[in-house]
């Protein structure tokens, strides 16, 4: 077995300098440890960032809310600050994994977790995302995979929180050798391509330090609905995050983001357009459901996800 060093972080600058030398960062470890055990992560040094000058605090800011990258999913699920407009985040955290995982898993790690694709997780399979030739899921087992083909990789993004944060127009704060920058989640997640076989644009020398959620108008409501192949402790087949605001009876804000449908969390722009400015009457909801699959190219084994997504969207809209 390859030797491994374990060190604790001292400063953020030391952490990001180490990243360029091949260090891997350890926070909750709930994804990293299985990847290490499966020999899918190769490193000679683990840097424990739980003692870094990084925060796990959830706090109000002048612009809205900030959640530190080290916030555990348990802390997010329990935070009263996330009630109201952001309540879908609490709902999503509560439905993610199990108590044992939520006690350890952090927000930063959740956003950067690697796909659950069984070909990706099998160290012996030839998988494009790992540098191989093609995606074995296309002609193989793909019932959990993406129905949009924005990438040579067909894995679906597993994070419940990522879709919710995308629906909230959140931004990640990144720190690297060049200093700090803020990137909207719309730009942070990008379907892997041949230049960059990753699901994010995070630089090799960068770390997520926080997530900023912009303030939402009073009266904004939200919901996260998750379909799993069992009632608990499963990744989403489809997860649907909805954020709405009404003026009178008219929807002036409609943000809808899905997880489980594409390689990265995806805003359902056609559905949003079908609903914006309407009263969300039956006819408008039907119109949104009809355009939900626009641009999708489901594989033979995962077209059911379209029906599932339509069902979740309809249920969510009718409940808000």
């Amino acid at each position: 077995m390859r030797p491994l060093r374990y060190v604790s972080s001292s400063t953020l600058d030391a952490v990001v300098a180490g990243l360029t030398a091949g260090d891997r960062l350890l926070a909750g470890g709930t994804d990293l440890l299985p990847l290490l055990k499966a020999d899918l992560v190769h490193t000679t040094q683990l840097v424990d960032i739980k003692r870094a000058p990084l925060s796990g605090a959830i706090q109000r800011t002048p612009g809205g809310l900030r959640i530190g990258a080290l916030a555990t999913l348990a802390a997010i699920a329990d935070s009263p600050l996330l009630d109201g407009p952001c309540s879908l985040l609490r709902q999503a955290a509560r439905q993610t994994a199990t108590v044992q995982i939520r006690n350890r898993a952090t927000l930063g790690g959740n956003l950067l977790q690697r796909p659950r694709c069984w070909y990706y997780r099998n160290s012996r399979s030839d998988c494009w995302l790992k540098g191989g030739q093609g995606c074995p899921a296309v002609e193989g087992h793909h019932e959990h995979h993406a129905i949009f083909d924005d990438s040579p990789c067909r894995a679906a993004h597993p994070s419940d929180l990522a879709g919710c944060l995308l629906a909230l127009d959140a931004a990640v704060v990144l720190y690297g050798l060049a200093g700090e920058r803020s990137v909207s989640l719309h730009d942070f997640f990008r379907a892997p391509d041949s230049e960059r076989r990753r699901e994010t644009i995070l630089g090799n020398d960068e770390i997520i330090t926080a997530v900023d959620i912009p303030a939402l108008p009073a009266g904004t409501v939200s919901i996260y609905l998750k379909a799993m192949d069992r009632k608990a402790w499963a990744f989403a087949l489809v997860g649907m995050g909805i954020v709405l605001h009404r003026t009178g009876t008219t929807l002036d804000t409609v943000h809808i983001a899905a997880t489980g449908l594409a390689q990265v969390p995806r805003r359902l722009a056609y559905c949003e357009q079908a609903l914006a400015g309407t009263t969300a009457a039956d006819v408008h909801i039907d119109a949104a459901l009809q355009v939900l699959g626009r641009g999708a190219s489901p594989l033979p084994g995962n077209a059911y996800k379209l029906d599932l997504a339509r069902g979740l969207l309809e249920r969510g809209l009718r409940s808000l």
């Binding site: 077995m1 030797p3 491994l4 060093r5 374990y6 030398a21 091949g22 350890l26 470890g29 709930t30 440890l33 299985p34 290490l36 055990k37 000679t44 040094q45 683990l46 424990d48 739980k50 348990a74 994994a97 199990t98 108590v99 044992q100 995982i101 006690n103 350890r104 608990a232 402790w233």
Partner: protein
């Protein structure tokens, strides 16, 4: 990049297990589960899936339920671990063990230490938890014998006596 020779293969580690000080020497790759089972001789936490799917390795780390197969031992310097071996008359783990016996809440018994530790974390926080809290607490612990119904009954019985205790205290 420094070579790996710069660091000894073993790192000294001070751990508190069930209230006892346990000085150990572990490799960085060693999980908390392996350290408990192989270095401390505490085989109550079970090694089954080793990937955080089954819950048989659940222990309390500073009071919180965790999968010890997904925690590195070196992360636990000066931290407090509670395992099923910490069960005794008069404490939460011991009360749960007794409730499991009385409600026949096990068959093969392999998942039992994990089930009890998950519930112990809950009862330490909420002496009289709701049905929803109980179900949520053990949702990450599989029982392939299917003893779930009796496991929930054991937990409910302790929750009911917790309600009585709390009622008596309030009075």
């Amino acid at each position: 990049m420094a070579t790996t020779d710069a660091q000894p293969r073993h790192t000294p580690l001070s751990l508190w297990v069930n209230g006892e000080y346990r000085p150990l020497s572990v490799q960085p790759r060693r999980t908390l589960l392996d350290a408990l089972r192989n270095d401390c001789g505490l085989t109550g936490a079970k090694k089954v899936c080793e990937m955080g799917n089954c819950g048989a390795c659940t222990v309390l780390l500073d009071g919180a339920a965790v999968y010890s197969c997904l925690v590195l031992a070196v992360e636990c310097e000066q931290r407090s671990v509670t395992t099923i071996e910490g069960g005794a008359a008069g404490n939460t783990v011991g009360a749960l063990q007794q409730a499991f016996i009385e409600h026949d809440a096990l068959q093969c018994g392999y998942c039992t230490p994990g089930q009890i530790m998950s519930l112990a974390a809950l009862f330490e926080r909420e002496p009289a938890p709701t049905e929803a809290s109980i179900t949520e607490a053990v949702a990450g612990n599989l029982c392939r014998c299917g003893a779930y119904r009796h496991i929930l009954e054991a937990a409910r019985s302790l929750a009911a006596s917790g309600t009585e205790r709390r009622g008596a205290g309030d009075g």
